[in-house]
Symmetry: C2
Subunit: 520 residues, 2 copies
Amino acid sequence: MRPILCVPSARRAFYALNKCEVANQWSENPRLRFTFCSRRYASMDNHLLTLSNINENVKRMEYAVRGPLVIRAAQLEKELKSGKQLPFNEVIRANIGDCHAMNQQPLTYMRQVLAACTDTRLLENSEYPSDVKEKVKLLLSYCGGGSVGAYSDSTGVEIIRRHCAEYIERRDGIPSDYQNIVLTTGASEAVRAVLALINSTATDPLPTGVLIPIPQYPLYTATLAEYGMAAINYYLDESNQWALQMDELQRSINEAKGKCNPKALVVINPGNPTGSVLSLENIKNIIKFAKKENLMIIADEVYQHNIYAEGAKFYSFKKVMHEMGEKIELASMMSASKGYMGECGLRGGYCEFINLDADVKAMFFKMLSARLCSSILGQIAMDCVVRPPLPGEPSFEQHEKEKAEVLRSLKERAKLVADTFNSIPGMKSNVVAGAMYAFPELKLPEKAVQAAKEAKQAPDFFYAMNLLETTGICVVPGSGFGQIPGTYHFRTTILPQPENLQRMMDKLKKFHLDFMEKYK
Amino acid sequence: MRPILCVPSARRAFYALNKCEVANQWSENPRLRFTFCSRRYASMDNHLLTLSNINENVKRMEYAVRGPLVIRAAQLEKELKSGKQLPFNEVIRANIGDCHAMNQQPLTYMRQVLAACTDTRLLENSEYPSDVKEKVKLLLSYCGGGSVGAYSDSTGVEIIRRHCAEYIERRDGIPSDYQNIVLTTGASEAVRAVLALINSTATDPLPTGVLIPIPQYPLYTATLAEYGMAAINYYLDESNQWALQMDELQRSINEAKGKCNPKALVVINPGNPTGSVLSLENIKNIIKFAKKENLMIIADEVYQHNIYAEGAKFYSFKKVMHEMGEKIELASMMSASKGYMGECGLRGGYCEFINLDADVKAMFFKMLSARLCSSILGQIAMDCVVRPPLPGEPSFEQHEKEKAEVLRSLKERAKLVADTFNSIPGMKSNVVAGAMYAFPELKLPEKAVQAAKEAKQAPDFFYAMNLLETTGICVVPGSGFGQIPGTYHFRTTILPQPENLQRMMDKLKKFHLDFMEKYK
């Protein structure tokens, strides 16, 4: 079947003739092909909107973290609830970095601030500490009518933007201007907005290209597909703890030139799905490369609090660039959804721009204005992260204790997961140095690959679906993140609580050995 | 100066040759031209991203509700705060439908539910009524890990979707399937997502066209511009209470055919910025027209609770279509930001699809998945709207009282505003039958029009900027919403609290008479 290309028709023939790898990348995904095969001509009734006339870009996009495996996991959960007998009695959702869903407890301070901002009568509640009440009063004094129910500026509540800037200054030891910071609906909205801003696909002779790591967090490929942009894949070096190799970066951009117009380089550090943490040296080289190739850097730094491995340290791209004396356009994203707080459902995030042209920044802010603003309570969650209780304040000790306990436990779980995978024949994992994920390699027997082909599934999808049906464990196959063709992986979070994680690892090991035996 | 067209280059020449009104519409806006004139070649430093290479669509888009007047209003507020002497001592933000910013008080029940969902220790608080606690327990039982900090499905928390469906059933007396409902970041995200779904501009020979009312809420023109789609303007009939005339609809689509590919018809009812409420007869005719012209209907029904005029009634497009026995694709949007609750900052909204092809719906849900989910607290705000306390429940009486008082006061203010405008020579307003706005016509003297031209401003922008600088009142000029060329309007909300609104009306009247005198 012919892959479906998503480029304006004037360029379509060009790509077809040149067999452009860049634009075609997602058609390599067997699940996507399968979806189209089975559905493309299925809706021939009298609807106005059909698969043949909606946005081709939407059809092409794919977001595996919430793909068919997750839909099946939800079905299995419903079946269990309704009393159906299955080979397992619980579904373990290790597919998504959703801390609270895995029973991580919220931080007392943050939730008290949010609750009292919402119901201000709680300012009279004697159980709420004074620093919580003071923060609530301060934040509300910057909200329209003193209410979280009023819109903020599209860029966010001013005092929260200022707190973000102060946090960045403390983190990096260099100045930060709150007017370069926008508060967004999680980091995802910021990523999507920046990609929209730089996208000149509709008017340029070539589509706008963005370098993305493989494996990557599928927000990037999904959004690039939706926007008709070109993803330029560079492979991370699995044999070197997923480091970013300069010659590979160079290869990827060289091959893309003439097929698209490369404008930006995405780096995810700490890594998702890889769990890697970039070294200072590596970051320096990436900055030199971006400078040489005239690329903006999009630094997805949402896991900056999640560092576990001995000797690993988080260096922000901003700080390293500053120390090198370089001035490259940079967007750095942060979120309230990850770290030790894990408040995914509140949808708080921010993006800092560095070295952006003032007129371009004005256009970006104008673009945000039609979205009105991100959730004020999400913005307040972000505030609690960037301006936590300070030493001497009533909430300080408990907050520090809760935070430290979450990070300690995650560190323990990071080690447990990698060690377990490395103890299983036919499986191999790098150190989980940071973030919340492991991305082990699977050595699948030829017979398993064959069985997958017969089922019209990618081999790692076949493996993951079998794992789900047999054990209730839901992971995401490597093909959803990208991997070197012929290699197989899956991503699992390290988020189940310790006792559940141990049980999950035991089940997974048993499944894997049985699977290998079956297809040997 | 040549307008900047935002269509793939292959079509650009075509449009230039054909002087396509549809694609050119926003270039009629003098402020936009001004922005380009002054800025287009301003950033010739060594930035990678400049106005000449970012997304042309982003440059074209404009969202007047947050435009230059509002930026100036914020500056003036800061100047007042810093002690500067101005001709007024307060800025009145009548530019945006932001109820709480205008000191509308939040509903007790809703805020208690939100607070206790956030800090579950409040389930032990003796001041919180039992129905609040029961709702909190029910909602959290549907959240991952029982926490508002977990992601929901991309479509939203199941029980809240079910409550939305029940609300729609009660409203219309016809069935609603929760699986056709998605919870979104306000109604805006739903509008943007539906427009993205139907946009086949990138692959069709002609851009995708959408019929929008003029005047309109600028979310539509802004989003269509950002997506490179074509807005097909139909003018509402000001002399008939802003009714939607069939011959005008027909004219607009006839003129657009061959220049774009019309796919959808947007109707805003009750109207923004017009404050009108469509009659049953009018809605029936619109549905017949959409049927005849093969258009999907996008029904922006976020003001469905805001009906004030004697004899006016809200009819949902879904209900009317059902009663006519028609089956057209329909998307209906609702929000927690408007109505009597006005919780704009919480960003809760929903969209119901009717008659959508199942495969297309699946694609829409897939598209939403990369955005993860809307704010859980925003979803819960929506829940409190669609499933308020019932008779007999402890919170019922207070809730009904608070709700009735907000709606009663809005009704009074709607009348005050329209009556005042109609008492001023050179100003004329239709009845504010619903929503939260008046859109009076201004008869500007020729000298004022001339003075505006000399200032390189649209006449109504000139008027509104003078109003702001003289009185501190911030309204939005009609050119931001669209109007028949040569006519002038502004939009004001009716949201300032009664005593402030009276003061604002007095100031506005005095300003207007002085302005007319000055330029007579």
